[in-house]
Each structure stands twice: as C-alpha cells, then as structure tokens.
Amino acid sequence: MALRDVLLKRIAQAIVTIFIVLGIDFVIFHILPGDPMTFLARNPNLTEVAQERLIEQFGLDKPLWEQFILFLGNFLSMRLGMSFHFREEVGPIIMHHLGNTLILVVPASIMAIVVGIWIGKNSAWRRGKAGDLFGLLFSLITYSIPTFWLGMFFIMLFAFGLGWFPATPGLTTPGMDFTGDPIGLIVDMISHLMLPWTVLIVAILGSFALITRNALLDVLSEDYMLTAKAKGRTEKDQLNKEAMPNAMIPITTVIALQLGFSVAGALQTEVVFSYPGIGNLIWEGVYYRDYPLLQAAFFMITVVVVFANLIADFIYFYLDPRIRVGAEFTIGDEKPPRPLSHYGFVVIAIVALLSTWAVIGITTILPLFILLLILKRKAVLVFLRNRLSTLTPSNLIYAWKNKRSQILVRFSVIALLVNLIALSIIAISGVFIPEWGLFWGAAFFGLREFPPIPASVEYPEWALTLASIAHPSVMQIIIVILTIGVLLGKRKSLGATSSRFIKTRMGTVGTAIVVMFAGMTLFGDIIAPYNPEAFFTGLWYQPPDVMPESQMLMLSVGAASLIGATLVWWILDRFKRPEIPRYFINILSGGLILFIAGIFGMQSLSVENTTTLIYSASIGVIACVIILKGLLSARKEFSLQQSWKIHLPRFLIALVGVIGVGFIVQGILQAPWVVSLDFPGYHLMGTDQLGRDVYSQLIIAVRITLLIGIVATGMSVVIGTLIGLIAGYYGGIIDSFLMRFTDIFFVIPSLLLMIIMAAVLGPSIVTLIIVIGLFSWSSTARIVRGQVLSIKERAYIERVRAVGGSNIYIIGKHVLAAVAPLVVANTILVTAWAILSEVVLDFFGLGDPAMISWGTMLYLAFNAGSMSNNLWWLVFPPGIMVVLLLLGVSMVGYAMDEIANPRLRRR
C-alpha cells in the first residue's frame, strides 16, 4: 500500500470516528430518564419560543431515526442547539471557550512532550541505575497526582501563600481595561497563565516520560544497537542518532493517542483556576445539567482531538521510512486470518454488544446468552457433565491423594455454576416479568437485604430459596474460596514469582503501600475515632490539633531508629555482602505483622468490635505461621555456625528498623484515642464545614475508592482481554474491525466521556463503576492483541490445532494462559487509572453524595473556598492519600510488568 493510500485510509478513519462520536453523543442524551420532550418542557430556564425552536430544529416530536438524521445534519452544519443555562446558541459559546482552551493546552502539551521525552530518554538509557529510578519515580508521582489537586495545591502555595502569581481567577484581571494597551494585556494574560501552564505540564509530563521510556527500552534491545556500539559511536550518538529515530515512531503514535489525556488534564486545570475554557464550561454544564452544552462540548473536543491525531499520523508516516518510501505497509505481522467457526460470530456479536451495553442496557446480553446456550446445548451439557464427574468418589480420592487443593477448586466451581444458573433463571424471569426485574435490580445494586425481596410482597418458598442461592454475596464467598484453592494449587510457582517480585525494590515499596491501604479498609472502623458521617463532632473548620506528647515521643523514637537502622544498613551494604537468607526475612516480617496485628487486636478489644478482632486474630495466626516457617528453616541452617555469625549484626540492625516501624504505626494509630473525644474533641486532622472529623473520613473513604477501582477494573479488563484475544486470534476483518473500534475509544478523551455519561445517568456508585469500566478497556485490548499475535504463531498452538483442539479451547487453555501474566500486570495499571478517574469524577460532583470518598471531600473543600481561606487540612490530606495509593498501585504494576513482560525479560 502506498503512502497516499495509507493517508487516505487514515482520513477516512478520522471521518468514521467523528460519525461514531456523533452516534455516541446522540445515544447518551437519549438514554436520559424520560423522553427529551418532557425534559425540555420541565426546564424552567427556557422560554416557550426557545423550546419550540429546539423541538423543531431537532425534530424531537418525530421518530428516533428521523431525529438522528436531523441531529447529524445539525451538528455537521455546526448548529449545536440551545444552552439551557446560558439561554443562547451553544455554538458561539463553545467556539469562544475553545480558543481559550487551546491557548492553555497547546503550549503546555508541547512543553510537556519535550520535557517528558527528555526524562523518559534518560531514564531508559540508565535502566536500573539511580538516574532511572529517579526519572521513573518522578514520572510515576506526577502521573499519580490528580491534576485538579495539583492545581489547588499550586494556587494555595504560589498564588495565596507566596503571592508570586495573581490569585484572581480567569484569563485577565477582572475590572481592568486593556483597550489600547496590548503589551499590558499580554503581560497580564501570561501572569495568569503561568500557573495553569505549569500545572498542566507537570500533570501530563509523567505519562509522556513513561511512554518514551517503554518505547526506547524496546529499541535498545534491538540488534542494530549492538552494531552501533561496536561501530564505536559515542554513547550520546548511540542514543540520539540510532535509538531515538527508531523510538520516535511508536512514541508519536502513543503520544497522539494520549492527547485525550492532556485534554482531561486541561479540563481539571481550568476548573480549579476558573479559567474561561471548555473545561469550565463543562463544569458548569454538569452543575446545571445543561445537556445541550455538554453534548456540543463533547463533540467539539473530540473533533479537535481527532484532528490532532491525524496530524500526528502524518508525522508518524514521515518518520518511518518503511511507510514513507512506499513499501508494503502492514500492522504487526499480519498473517492470514483464522478460519471462522460459527462460534466466532457469536462471540464477536457478544463482544460488540458488551462494549455498547451501557448504551443499550444490560438486558440485551441475556437474550444473546440464552441464544448461545440453545445453539450450543450439547456442548453445555458435556461441560456440566464433566464438572460433575469430578465429584465421583474415585475421582475425589485420587485428588485427595495427589493434589488436595483441587478438591476445593472443584467444589467451588460447581457451587459457582449453581449460583450462576440460579442467577440466570432470575434474570430471564426478570426479562419476561418486568416487576421481577425491578426487584432483582434493586437487590443487586444497593439494597442489602437478604433475601432481597420486599417484605410487603408475598413470594413463594422456591423464589426465596432461589434468591438466596443467586445472591451476589454467595457468589463472592465462592469466588474467594475458588481463588484460595487455585492459589494453593500454584503455591510453588507463586513462591518463585513473588520472590522475584520482592527483589525488585519498587515492588516491595509498592506492596507495602498497598498493604497499608488494605489494612485501612479492613480496620477502618477501629482506626477512625469518630463516626465519619456524624456532624459537629467538633467546631466548624477546626484546624488540626497537635499530637499528644506521648504519641509524639513514640513517633520520633520510631522515626529515629528507622532512619538510623536504614543508614547503618546502607553503609554495610556498600561492602561485599553475603546473600540475605530467607528465614531472616521471614522472622522479621512475621514479627512486624504480628506486632501490628496485636495493636489492632487490643484496639478491637477496647472498642468491642468483633469483626476486626477476628481479622486481627487471623492475621496474627498467619504471622505466627510465617515466623514458625522462618524459625524452622533457620534451625536447619543453624548448624552452619558461621552463617549465623555473619548475619547477626545485620539481623540486629534490621530488628531495630522493624521496631522503629512498629513504633511509628502505633504512634499514629493511637494518637486520636488517648485524648478526650467529647465535643469539641481532639481532631488529628481538623474538621470540615459540617464539623465532621477529617481523619475519620479519610480512613473510611479508602473503602469506596477501592471498591469502585477494583470492580470497574474487573469490568474493563474482562472486556479488554476478550476483545484483544478475539482480535489477535482470529485476525482478518474481525481484527481490523475490533481494533478500529478500540482506536476510537483510545482517541476519544475517555475522562470527558465518563464525566458526561455520569452527569446524564445521575450520581451513584453504580454509575461510576459502569462508566469507568466501560471506557478504560482500550489499552488492555491493545496489549493483549499484540501478545496474542505473537503467541498464536508458535508451534505449540499449531500442534494443539493438529491434535484437534477447537478455537475456543485453544484460546481458553493456551493463548489465555500465555497472556495471563501480562494481563495481571496491566490490570494493576488499569486499577490506578480507574481510581484516578473515580477521584476526578467525584471532584466534578458526580460521586455518590451519600458516600464519603476522597474526591467528594476535595469537591466539598473546593466549593467551600478552602484555597482562599487557607483551609489546608481539607485539601492536603485527601490529595496525599490519593497520590500515595496510586503511587503504590502503579509501583506494584510496574514491578509486575518488569517480571511478566517478555520484551523486558529478554535482556
């Protein structure tokens, strides 16, 4: 394919993308509860005349397809409708704001790309050394900071605190007249723009640095880099003249795809700085539920991003001689597509529908699922029989003798099947008997009654039984047991992986942070001194109290011993040293866990909380097992007198460090409890505008964040993996179709889409989960597809095919197993993204108002004017928590990637 054809193809794709965006736009605003007619009529902001004009322009009284055609016509001719809030034509408003946004985004993006590439380049070149660690850490931290929070922080520090920049919102100082003074205007504008620019640059720079590092690491392992080195090129030339031109090719595409990310950053920056751009417009649109405005803003931003992408594509083709010179142009190693069985079509249909299910509604999957069951009834029966046959006594005895964990797995698989069958019966009945569907819907999404049937309605016995079997909590318990069984079965290989994981320092630190947050989730009830939702536990805006002296002492002793131990350890480390024995780590970490479990146990006893007592007891037992294992293996090696002598000094140092950590933990945990809690009470982190304790809110909010993050991630990873598997495995038309589809989701600024969807659907946890889950699968799909492409050509896959394995069997048993490590690593990174999205959505006021979350806390703090009133205790703690959690999660993800990713392992 010649260059011209490729470019034409890209332009055609861009046009298709714009049409699809229009489609999404149309659909989103038609799934509003109630039809748009009544919705318009209810809106008091619009005059009778304006309403009629709207109805006529968009044909709101006509059938849906006519409306769609009218809508297309209107939008393509830039007639974007009437704003509810401004009561004007949307088009001019948007164009005006779009200009301002571009002034903000374009210079900041260029700067961020330049600096980001520079950081990533240096990081990759020094892989594994101090410089890399610094660059990677810096990128991860900036990537983890929610942009809006960074903005708030900068405003408090540089505008209100130090007074370096004007604190007045907007692009120019209000009330000043610059007519006939263009230089004064420009100076004023730049002084207003400096802070937003800086915030945006810092916010998006990290992701560019990470992209560059990854791309360059790929290139550095290529053979021609060895040639370059052998030729005697200086290091600088090797990097800049040989590696970078190659790396720039993938970097350009990925950066182009990330432009949506910059847009999302810009939206947040604008809101915080009250900058008159599209972001602020969207903020207002969300606040006033001004749907025409949102609809049009989404359309315009996407069009801009699509064009930016197109430009990047042209640059890309210019950079890559393989395309520029007019050679054969292929994406990846394109092989002839797999022959399709009818399975293929069904699966694809499901996937296509899965990805649009928010638009069409969950119930649409069910008929398809039933269809699949009927079509494949024989296979289903065989499947069920196979599951059951593992329960015959002889089979069980065999399993007991050879692999005990299998028994756990088998029983839980059957329980899960029973649960799913019950669930499907309920769901099917829900489709045919709508009021049933309502009950079930209520039951599964929120009402926590068990069984979930309102008491006022009498239902037969069997329905109650069915409801209990099908209940999600049963499913959760089964899944936990299943996971334990699988993990037990694989403990050897898991042990090997985890020891490699621990060796990457980043993994260790990340795990420690994540464990800390997990602890907060489990023990939140006994850590938080107040009920986080209780009003007036203290005064309004009560600033943080000083820590009690005893706790302060404990904290400083702990910190001193930890720092001292680390320093001594580090100095000892500089000499050649023997390998740290395993038991050494076991005993120390077990001891630390036991100590912390002990603190929690005591605390649970004193506040009489049985649940947390059970938690701490079981953690204590696990800690004891670890210590015991360590002691046992220590005794074995103890005969080597020498080894003990060598390790003793370091053991003592480590012990001091561990005790230090224990002191710190205890100092912080018990600080609020040793002082009186009566009104106005002691508040470690002050109180908010309703007198609620910030510290308690902070602790309890972890739960909601983790819940949304994990569930949404699960959803997006399942969708992404499925699409990636099918696209990569089947190839051909399906591949191009699915990948174009994925690209579209890549290009559309997903955060913006999430904001708009959530605004339309109304704030609730379920909305957040669905919206985040639906729009963050594209990266997973791409990564999985790439891996599948290389795996499916391996000889062993051909072997399975020759033996007679079906496509589904190959995908499930062999391809999926091979991509699993990569999926796991990617899952963790998607989790970070989901949490970040959740925080941003909360900040836009789209979180569940009844739930305490960090984003909502920041939203309230922002609206309470905490920046100008210097209420720093409302702003800093939630933001720091978010950054810390995200940092921990992404560090774990990066460490996993280092282990799982074949292209990094190769070196």
């Binding site: 021609y224 060895l226 040639t227």
Partner: protein, 326 residues
C-alpha cells in the same frame, strides 16, 4: 577447499586466561572460563561448539560490548601488543571498528531500519576518520560494489533489501575501515543454502585479495571446513580442542570433537548420524572435573575429579587425559 599450510604471520590477537562471568539473579554463569588462543595476521580462525558454550561472549568481550551483567573476571587480550581489556573508555570507542569489527548474528536486524544503508556506512567512516563526506561515500560505494551489490541499491533502506543483500552489506559495513581483524558471528545461520554459498564465496575472495584476519563463529562445521585455517572447539566455556582444519577433521582427538563431527550429516555418504546424549552442563554449577565427563563415552575416574589441561602437541591442542588412548 581449505589450504593446508598455516600462513606465517605474526600473532595479531593473543587471548590468554580470559574469564567472563555473567552475574544474574540465579547465580554466576561462567560463560567463558579461562581460555587461550591466538589469531595470526591473515589467518582465518573458526570458533565452534554447541549453543551457549561461550562463543559469542568471547567475541563480544573482544569488542567490549558485553551486556551489563557480563563481567570480565580476568585474563588478557593482546591486540597488536595492546591489551584490549584494559583500554580506557575513550580509547575503546576509537578502537572499535577501526581495529576489530564484527558481523553480527542475525544481520537481518543489525542494520538500523530508519537510516539508509549508505549513510550507516558513511557514518561508520566519519566516526573514526576525518575526511570529506564525499570521499567517505566513494569508499563506501566501492565496498558495496565489491560485495556484489549495485551502486544504485546503496541508497535503499534495509527493509527494501533481501536477506542475503543485507548480510553482504553488513559484511561491507564491517570492512569500511579495513580493520586488521573481523569477527563474523554466525554469518550464514538463518540464510538459505544459496545465499550461504554467496557469503562463503565472498569470504574466499576477501582471503585472496586482502591481508584480513577473520574469526568466524558458527556451529556449522561445514562452513569452517570451507574457509578456515585453524579451528577452535569450545565446550561449556572452555576450549577443548584446537587444530589446523585438516587435522581436526581427519584426526579429532577430543571425544567431544569426534562426536560433533560424526553428528554432522553428509549429503553423499550414507553414514550413521551420531548424537551426543544429554545436554550441555549448567554453567552456574558446572560438574566437577572435566566439563564433558557426564556425556563422555570414554570417561574414567580421573575425569570426574580433575579438569584436564589444554596440552599442545605440535600445534594440536587438546584438553583430554586420554587423547592418545582413544
């Protein structure tokens, strides 16, 4: 056919006691463990052995392009009486390609895909020698012609060339500075037989026209038989046998060499293909005594206890206690 007499040159490269270990998370891999050999001026030397026995590591050590994990633990590599291993960082860049150049394993990917072939060659010249670009271009073009590729193809990008052309261009790239020694790492592997023949022919021409020394690394013994004066056989990081080509093929003395030669299929003779049972040893934890003893048919107790020294008997060096018995 290979010539039987050894060209009487001065030793160009003299490696002695070279040890290269890889320090990886699983332990220390003794990839090259105490090897000695020489390459004389104008001599073609073959280095052979199973995969993973340290051939490529040896070559990479000579150019000091080992990966970060590879550490030179000891030894000397005298090149024109200068020790390569003790060169400073600045000297090393001037040394590479000027004195020793290398044709890499898998030359398909050894040319940078975003630069034109001719530019890559010109660059290699300009890095080391101050001359006008035009002159460098002329030198490069002449070389390209001499490896049998038309001048008009010089401005192509690597992806526009066939595998054989890329390999020949890679050889041309290695020759641009007329270095005294070229190392060719698996120059014919992964090429089809016809292209292999082209490459071998090219080597033979070079041999006739220039005073070049060549160290060919390959596991394909037939390539060595065609081109080399002297062959070194390595096993598990050590040299087990070294002899002039004819002697090595006619009277192999080490059991490993015997097996290696007899496991090679012949097109014409209807001979039984032999194989070597077992795998090469784990280089992290090599067996005590002779590295080859677990797979050797002639093993005696002494082999299990002591490592046999490399004994020179009239230019035929063998590391085996029983070289004269078997």
């Amino acid at each position: 056919m290979s010539s039987s007499q050894i060209p009487g040159g001065q030793p160009l490269l003299k490696v002695s006691g070279l040890k290269v270990y890889y320090h990886i998370s699983q332990g220390v891999v003794k990839a090259v463990d105490d090897i000695d050999f020489t390459v004389n001026c104008g001599e073609f030397v073959g280095l052979s052995g199973e995969s993973g026995c340290g051939k490529t590591t040896t070559a990479m050590t000579l150019l000091k392009i080992l990966p970060r994990e590879g550490v030179i633990e000891g030894g000397q590599a005298l090149f024109n009486n200068r020790d390569i291993l003790s060169l400073k960082k600045k000297e090393i860049n001037a040394f590479r390609w000027q004195e020793i150049s290398m044709v890499f394993q898998g030359a398909m990917n050894s040319l940078n895909p975003v630069h034109r072939v001719i530019n890559q060659m010109i660059n290699a010249i300009l890095i080391h020698e101050k001359m006008p670009r035009e002159k460098a271009k002329e030198i490069a073009l002449e070389l390209i012609e001499s490896v049998g590729i038309e001048r008009s193809r010089a401005t192509a990008y690597p992806h526009e060339l066939s595998g054989g052309m890329k390999q020949r261009l890679m050889i041309a790239l290695a020759l641009v500075l007329h270095p005294p020694l070229v190392i060719a790492d698996e120059p014919t592997t992964a090429l089809d037989v016809m292209i292999q023949a082209q490459i071998l022919d090219l080597f033979k021409q070079l041999r006739q026209r220039t005073s070049l020394s060549l160290l060919i690394i390959t596991h394909d013994l037939s390539v060595l038989a065609e081109t080399c004066d002297k062959i070194i056989i390595m096993y598990a990081g050590k040299i087990v046998e070294e002899a002039p080509t004819e002697i090595l093929f006619n009277e192999p003395a080490h059991p490993y060499t015997k097996k290696l030669i007899s496991s090679f299929p012949s097109i014409l003779a209807d001979k039984e293909i032999d194989f070597i049972p077992g795998n090469p040893p784990d280089l992290i934890d090599p067996p005590a005594g002779c590295n080859f003893h677990p797979r050797c048919d002639y093993v005696i107790d002494r082999c299990r206890a002591e490592s046999p020294p490399l004994v020179d008997e009239g230019g035929h060096r063998v590391a085996c206690f029983r070289r004269n018995e078997i």
